[in-house]
Symmetry: C2
Subunit: 372 residues, 2 copies
C-alpha cells in the first residue's frame, strides 16, 4: 500500500460562531460531494439556472443578472467595482468599519477618485448624511455602503437611500456579506443597483462563492463603458453569456461545479425554511444571546446591532486570546476577535444560518460563564 506523507484529513467538529464561516449543515456538505459534472453539461446548466433563480429569490429581486461569482465574498466586491467603475470616475464610499475602508481601497485600484463620508466605528449613516454627500460630490457615479459591517456589528438601514442616490443619477452599491439570508434585504424594493454577499455567512454554505446581483440601471452603465473592464476574470460582459444564457452559454471560465451544488442546496434550505421565518429566527436568537451576554457584563458596541453578528466590548480584565483559545480547545466553539481598531478590544459572535440556534446560544453562554 502506498503511504501518504500527511495524516488523513480529520477536522474537528467546531461550532462556528465567529464572523464567518458559520457551521455548515451535513445536508449541504453531502450535496457538495455529489459527482462532478462538466460546466457545459446540460444537467449542470440546469442546476446553475436554478441556483441563479434561488439567488434572485433570496435577494428579493427580479434582476436577470444575478449569479455566483467564482470566488469568496470579496471577489463579488471586486466584480462590482471593476465593472461599474472606469478610470477617472468619482465615487462616494461610506466608511464606518473595515469593510467600507476595503471598498474604498478596491475602488481606488479601479482608478476611481473616492470621496468618503465617515462616522465612528459602530455608528451608521442617516439619510441626511447621504443626501449631503451626494450634493457635495455631484459628479460621483455611485454610492457604496455596507449593509452589515462585519467589523463592528453595525446594521445600516438602507430603505429610502435609493431615492436620494438615483435622483442624483448615481448607482447604489451594497455590501451584504453578513446579511443575506439572515436580515431583511429587499434589493428591488430598496432600489439597490449592485450587491454582493458571501456563501459562508447566513447561508451556511462553505466559503468559495459570492452571490451578486446587478440592476438594469447597473447593466446600462456597464454597456456604456468606453474602456475594457480591467479584470478578465470578473468581466460581466463575458460572464453574463454563461450565467444568463444570453449569447449561447459561451464558455468563459470553468465554474466551481461542486461549490455551486452546495450553494444551490443552501439556498433551497432558505426557501424551505421561508425567508421571513429565517429572518425572525435570527432576530430571536440575537435577543436570546444579547440577554445572556449583557447578564455576563458585556456591552454591545453598535447602536443598531446586527442580529447575525454580535460585536461586544471586552470588559476589563478579560484575556481576549486566552479565553478564545479555551472556547476553541475545551468547547470546540469558535468566536471572533476584534478587527482593525477593535483588535484586542472586542469580540464578534456570529449567529448566522445553521449556527443561529437556541442550542448554540445556550452552549456558548454556558461555556463563557465557565471561562470568564
Amino acid at each position: 500500500m502506498p503511504t501518504s506523507p500527511f495524516a488523513p484529513l480529520n477536522p474537528r467538529e467546531r461550532i462556528l460562531m465567529g464572523p464567518g464561516p458559520s457551521t455548515v449543515p451535513a445536508r449541504i456538505l453531502r450535496a457538495m460531494s455529489a459527482p462532478t459534472l462538466g460546466h457545459l453539461d446540460p444537467q449542470f446548466i440546469e442546476y446553475m439556472d436554478e441556483t441563479c433563480q434561488l439567488i434572485r429569490e433570496v435577494y428579493q429581486t427580479k434582476n436577470l443578472l444575478s449569479f455566483p461569482v467564482s470566488g469568496t465574498g470579496m471577489a463579488g466586491m471586486e466584480a462590482i467595482a471593476t465593472n461599474l467603475i472606469e478610470p477617472g470616475d468619482e465615487v462616494i464610499v461610506c466608511i464606518n468599519g473595515v469593510f467600507g475602508g476595503r471598498m474604498k481601497d478596491n475602488m481606488e485600484r479601479c482608478g476611481a477618485t473616492v470621496h468618503t463620508i465617515e462616522v465612528p466605528w459602530g455608528a451608521t449613516f442617516d439619510k441626511e448624511a447621504i443626501a449631503e454627500a451626494v450634493q457635495k460630490y455631484p459628479k460621483a457615479k455611485l454610492v457604496g455602503i455596507v449593509h452589515a459591517e462585519t467589523s463592528t456589528g453595525a446594521h445600516q438601514d438602507l430603505s429610502g437611500l435609493a431615492e436620494i442616490v438615483h435622483d442624483a443619477k448615481m448607482l447604489l452599491v451594497v455590501d451584504a456579506v453578513t446579511s443575506l439570508g439572515g436580515h431583511e434585504l429587499k434589493v428591488d424594493e430598496w432600489g439597490i443597483d449592485a450587491i454582493y454577499s458571501g456563501t459562508q455567512k447566513c447561508l451556511s454554505c462553505p466559503p468559495g462563492l459570492s452571490p451578486v446581483s446587478f440592476s438594469d440601471r447597473a447593466i446600462a452603465r456597464i454597456d456604456a463603458r468606453k474602456t475594457k473592464v480591467q479584470s478578465w476574470y470578473f468581466d460581466v460582459s463575458m460572464l453574463k453569456n454563461y450565467y444568463t444564457g444570453d449569447g449561447g452559454r459561451a464558455y468563459h471560465h470553468t465554474a466551481p461545479i461542486n461549490m455551486i451544488y452546495a450553494l444551490r442546496e443552501s439556498l433551497a434550505i432558505v426557501v424551505e425554511e421561508g425567508l421571513q421565518n429565517r429572518i425572525t429566527r435570527h432576530r430571536e436568537m440575537h435577543l436570546l444571546l444579547r440577554e445572556g451576554l449583557e447578564a455576563l457584563g458585556f456591552c454591545y458596541i453598535p447602536q443598531h446591532s446586527l442580529h447575525t453578528l454580535n460585536c461586544v466590548a471586552l470588559p476589563e480584565g478579560i484575556d481576549d486570546a486566552a479565553i478564545r483559545s479555551r472556547l476553541l480547545n475545551e468547547f470546540d466553539i469558535e468566536i471572533g476577535g476584534g478587527l482593525g481598531i477593535f483588535a484586542g478590544k472586542a469580540w464578534r459572535i456570529g449567529l448566522m444560518g445553521h449556527s443561529a440556534t437556541k442550542r448554540n446560544v445556550r452552549t456558548l453562554l454556558a461555556a463563557l460563564g465557565e471561562c470568564i
Copy 2:
C-alpha cells in the same frame, strides 16, 4: 414537512474525458465534505500549510510563495498578471491557441503593451523564436507561454527557455493548467518565475482553486512595484501574509476551506502514486488512446501532442454535436468539442488524473466505435 421548490440534487455519474473537469475520485469528494473549519483555526492553518507544501512538491519547486488562489485556473492567470505587470510595461506573449490569446487579453487589461509572437494553432515555439522575440523587444519585462494549450492539445517544450529569458532580464511566466500532475513540469530546474494551474484537470479535484508559484525573482519584481496592484482580491503583497505566515497570518479574505480540503487530498494522492509514476501513466494511456483513435480514422492535430489532452480533427461526415450528445446521453461520457477556430472541426479528449485509466480508454473507444 417543508417542501423544496427544486428536485434533490442528483447529478449523473459521468466519465469526464473532456478538456476538464476530469472525473473526481470518491476519496476527494469525501475529503471535501469534511466539517468546515474557520480560516484562522490553527487546525486549518496546518492543513493550508500542508497544501502549500504539496503544491511545491508537485510543481517540483522550493518557492516559498506557492499557494492556491481562491478562484478557478484563470484566476491564477490574473493573479500573476496583475502582480507582475505595471501600467506601461512591455511584455511578450507566445500565442498558438486560445489560452495564449487569453493571456494577451489579460495582460493588456493590466496596462501592458503586449508584443506577440505567433505560430499556427497546433504548432509550438522553438527556442530560436523566443530568442528572436527577446532580442526584438528588449524592454519587455516578461515572456508568457502556455505549457499545455488546452485548445489545440499542443505540448510546449519549456526546457532551455529560462536561460534566454533571464539573460534578457525578463521573467518566464507559464500557463500549466492542463499539465500539472500529468506531465513533467520542473519549475525550479526550468527556471520558471511564475506559474498557474487549475485543480480540475490532472489533479482530479473539483474546479475552484488555482495553484500558483512565484520565484524569488518574481517576488523581487513585485516588491519593487511603484504602483498598487490593480486587484485587491489577487494582491500577493497581502495574500502572502496569510499563506506563508509572513506577517502573522493576517486575515485577507476567507479562504475556500472545503475546496482546500479537496485540493490537499488530491495532491496527497499524486504524491502517494508518485509523480513519475503518474506522468508515466498519462503517457501510456495517451498512447493506448492514440492507437485506438487512429485506427478509427482520427488524425491528431498537434505535432507534439499532450498526453493529457488529445485534440483530433473530425473526419468528413462526422456530426460533431450529434455524436457528442450520444456519448453523453447513451454512455455518460463527456468529451470536448473544438474551441475557437477549431469549433466544429476538432474534438478534445482529456486523459487527466483519475480519468486516465485503461478502463476509460477502452470504454470510450468502444462507445465511439458504436457511434461513428
